[in-house]
Amino acid sequence: MTRDDRLPLANLWVAISAFGVAACMALMQALSRANLDLPWRSARMYYLSVTAHGVLMALVFTTFFIMGFGYVTVTRSLNRPVSLPGLAWGGFWTALLGTLLTAATILAGKASVLYTFYPPLEAYPTFYIGAALLVVGSWGWVWCMFASYRAWRREHPNDKTPLPFYALLTTAILWQIATVGVAVEVVVLLIPWSLGWTATIDPLLARMLFWYFGHPLVYFWLLPAYAVWYTVFPRVAGGKLFSEPLARLTFALFIILSTPVGFHHQAMDPGIPAGWKLFHTILTFGILFPSMVTAFTITASMETAGRARGATGLFDWIGKLPWGEPLFAAVALSMLLFAVGGFGGAINASFGMNAVVHNTAWIQAHFHLTVGSAVALTFMGTAYWLMPKLLGRELELRLLAKVQPYLWFLGMALFSFSNHITGLMGMPRRIYDASYGGSPVAAGWKVLTGVSAAGGVLLFVSAAFFVMVMVGTGLAGARRTPEPVLWAEPLEDPGPGRTIFDRYGLWVVTAVVIILIAYAYPLATHLAMPRFGAPGVPQY
């Protein structure tokens, strides 16, 4: 471990710890939904654990992992130290303090408001203050990424940004744009209201600000996973990146298309005119494009790997791939699950069809394929590949690391497909008990909630394997000289010169213009309308 690697490692260990705690919460939820009467089962514990699971997985595990991986792309792809290390460490400690404050409030039972924290459900103020600190801390990371780029650019004025860093820099830009929404919601609306300085709150305005942030949030999770798919996975597979410029196109398109789509999460909300919901729906379909690009490029990259390993037939390259390599298996399986999740997402966004699935178990099934598989499984694979290189240790418990992605795939298949079906049958998401007082309709969900619980147990075992491998590697892995981080090479090198994809100002301005078109008018008319606030309903 070098001094430079202490920063990413600190972030990655927080991510792994949050993941471990959140996975324990998940096990309890899956068993509860199936009405298995465990001794500690209660509605209070269930909703507490759903909140903890959502916050720790979706906001803490992801954010810290992405920050850690982002710093790795500075030191290993820009090949220079992180600029403004004081800001980086300040951001880390601020985000960690925020995480501890929020987590302690949740675990004390004073913030069972779930990770969407829709007012007027009201948590204890430290929940919101901690969340704000987490976001502010992550801005430290964002500006270190920007500063590192500027420093590199001064030394390489005519070069295009190396692709691994490019992917994480676009992630940082996207995150800066997106978090404005949640920062305004938390700092302007929620914190003063939870402290009693304002009596009431407009729940719909809070939802609009939350979903301005909530959809680009999913691309904040996804882009670093795509970074691994494009810049690590082809090399681990034994091949090359099929198309380098299309990889850049993908990341650039996410800067402009991620944010102006939030109303598709609010299709069933009163108070937002249908025309604006339709406009956001159409923009949402636009985001399918970069993911379709990704599907082709990564699959073609896998084929180059299979052929480099001696395959000659139409499909035999699949069998030649290194399925026993933990990173390879994790990414390949996460892509399979994501293909299903992606099309499910198109259904969710579909204006009319959303009525069939809105707030049903279908939604949790969907995002466990996207953030829970494409992102989380890729990050676990990345940790197997990256942590030994940062720590200068051998990966311990290698067999568990080999089995873990397959176990996750199987558990997620059971969990996700059963919840997709119960969702179509109308079962709501986030319910402690799915029996509805013996309702015959609800009785029809019973078998599938059992399948979902079985999937949840497999996922928990898989998560436990991951944490064991990480702790084992960190504490007991045999020491050795750290291996270099080697990124995938493109099949055809398009040359070193800067291209349109390096013109960040252009992409940011385009993004801001589209966001203004999508949000300025509906928000302005909303604020101009006579509205009534709602008083808080404390959950503590």
């Binding site: 459900l121 919901k277 379709m292 204006f351 809105h358 709501p428 998401r429 007082g437 709602a534």
Partner: protein, 158 residues
């Protein structure tokens, strides 16, 4: 930017698929007039019980026009049992007295959010008589999973 021939075909196919997705949604909205519940009307959540629009809750039949007025609160819908005739458009007018709730009639496309301060309104026609389960599908507190109601769709007597 050089793009492989097969990848070009794939990208064009993806673009066509995306346009087709958007096209079907726009066609449904324009030709069929379909839109998700998007009524814009505000109400003071502190006075919903006495507000003239929600003081009389229940089902009103006026000629061919059926209106259901109901309020969601932790952890019940009032009224909790609603009887409506089959084959006739039923307009639901709903709001919340406290926190954000959901209103979903299981097995149908009737699904909306109930947000305090706002009135949700949508119209739906039930063609199959029978008993339906109404559930709250937005987390509203520790009793969320108990918040439910009944909708009875009755075959109209001639």
């Amino acid at each position: 930017m050089k793009v492989d021939f097969y990848e070009k075909i794939w990208l064009w196919a993806a673009a066509v698929l995306i346009v087709a997705f958007a096209g079907t949604v726009v066609a449904g909205a324009v030709a069929e007039g379909y839109a998700p519940p998007s009524h814009v009307e505000t109400i003071n959540p502190a006075t919903v019980w006495s507000d003239a629009r929600f003081a009389h809750r229940g089902v009103t039949v006026d000629g061919n026009h059926v209106t259901v007025v109901a309020i969601g609160m932790t952890f019940a819908f009032l009224p909790s049992e609603i009887h409506v005739p089959a084959h006739r458009p039923v307009t639901f007018r709903l709001t919340s007295a406290d926190v954000t709730h959901g209103f979903e009639i299981v097995g149908t496309n009737a699904n909306t959010m109930l947000i305090p301060g706002y009135v949700s309104q949508f119209t739906v026609t039930f063609d199959t008589p029978g008993e339906y389960l109404i559930v709250c599908n937005e987390y509203c507190g520790q009793g969320h999973h108990t918040m439910s109601g009944k909708l009875i769709v009755e075959e109209a007597t001639p």
